[in-house]
């Protein structure tokens, strides 16, 4: 693929030969790399946003993750591996940033933007409140919840991505759900009857 051809490539997963993109990006094609970025940017950016609670920090984190990817393209074996690698690096980098800064002590109070694909039954108040409550969890528990409910990953993959035993992941999920339920009832977002 020449550079001019690759510029014409759009980031629509349905119409892109992503395997060819990966191959071109490995060969130094910056436009192909940009297309790969566009395919995965919402995943990586959202992990950063849910973990760090700030848009500027989320963008910094996403840039850092993709810069690391650019340096390590040779080590990416497949498209599945690419997605896994990005989630793993983003989540662990966010945990690292949280542990090294005062962010972990602050609940997320960012005015979260509307999700990319809003649903009819979406409750913006609930979305914002839940995002805020999620920010009160410890960094590792938060990462587990983000990978589970934002990225829809199973416990085995989360355990692999975060280098923790499967039972620890299950325990984080169970305890976090209980804590979130309690906080939601405490904040009167729902009643105990809503979630018996």
């Amino acid at each position: 693929m020449t550079r001019s051809e690759s510029h014409a490539v759009q980031a629509d997963p349905a119409s892109i030969d992503t395997r060819a993109l990966l191959s071109s990006a490995r060969g130094g094609d910056r436009a192909a790399f940009a297309s790969l970025v566009r395919l995965h940017q919402s995943s990586v950016y959202s992990i950063g946003l849910r973990m760090l609670g700030r848009r500027d920090a989320a963008e910094d984190l996403a840039q850092d993750v993709f810069l690391q990817l650019y340096r390590r393209l040779d080590s990416i074996e497949s498209l599945d591996h690419l997605g896994f690698w990005l989630r793993r690096v983003a989540a662990n980098l966010a945990i690292d940033w949280l542990r090294r800064s005062a962010w972990s002590a602050q609940p997320l109070n960012e005015d979260f933007p509307e999700p990319a694909a809003p649903q009819v039954d979406d409750d913006p108040l609930m979305t914002r409140a839940l995002s805020g409550l999620l920010g009160e969890l410890a960094p590792a528990a938060r990462a587990v919840m983000v990978l589970r409910y934002q990225e829809d990953r199973d416990v085995a993959e989360i355990a692999d991505a975060l280098d923790m035993p499967v039972n620890t992941v299950k325990s984080h999920i169970k305890r976090s759900l209980t804590a979130l339920r309690g906080k939601m009832i405490g904040a009167r977002l729902v009643t105990a009857e809503d979630m018996p």
Partner: protein, 131 residues
């Protein structure tokens, strides 16, 4: 219960796009040529320079110095304690001797008093000498 909160979480945590132009900003920050992974790793985690002779011996030397200081301090404290105990012993012995002397003096006085009371009545020349 969990199903409900899980569906709410999935709704709340749907993916969000970064601000417009994210990929372009990223491209602007990319180096001209991607570095091979191994070179990049070397650059990021450049091996530290070999430690100098001073650095190599600094830790054992510090440990040895601490050990010597601890032994010296221990000896000093022991000697100090021994001197204190000795001083206290001498003081106690001095006080005992003083107490014995006072007691002995009081006993002398008592003995004199008893002897004077039991002695036969004094004669005239005795009275002269007594006065």
């Amino acid at each position: 219960m969990n199903d409900d909160i899980e569906s709410r979480l999935r709704n709340a945590l749907r993916r969000v796009d970064p601000d417009e132009g994210f990929a372009e900003r990223l491209l602007a920050a990319l180096p001209e040529q991607p570095l091979p992974a191994r070179v990049a790793e070397l650059r990021v985690a450049r091996p530290a320079a070999p430690p100098s002779r001073w650095q190599r011996f600094a830790a054992p030397a510090a440990l040895a110095a601490s050990l010597v200081a601890a032994i010296f301090l221990g000896q000093q404290m022991g000697a100090q304690r021994y001197a204190d105990e000795q001083r206290a012993g001498l003081e106690a012995s001095r006080e005992l001797m003083q107490a014995l002397r006072v007691t002995s003096r009081k006993l002398d006085v008592a003995y004199e008093a008893v002897r004077d009371r039991d002695a036969p009545p004094a004669r005239g020349d005795d009275e002269e000498t007594r006065t």
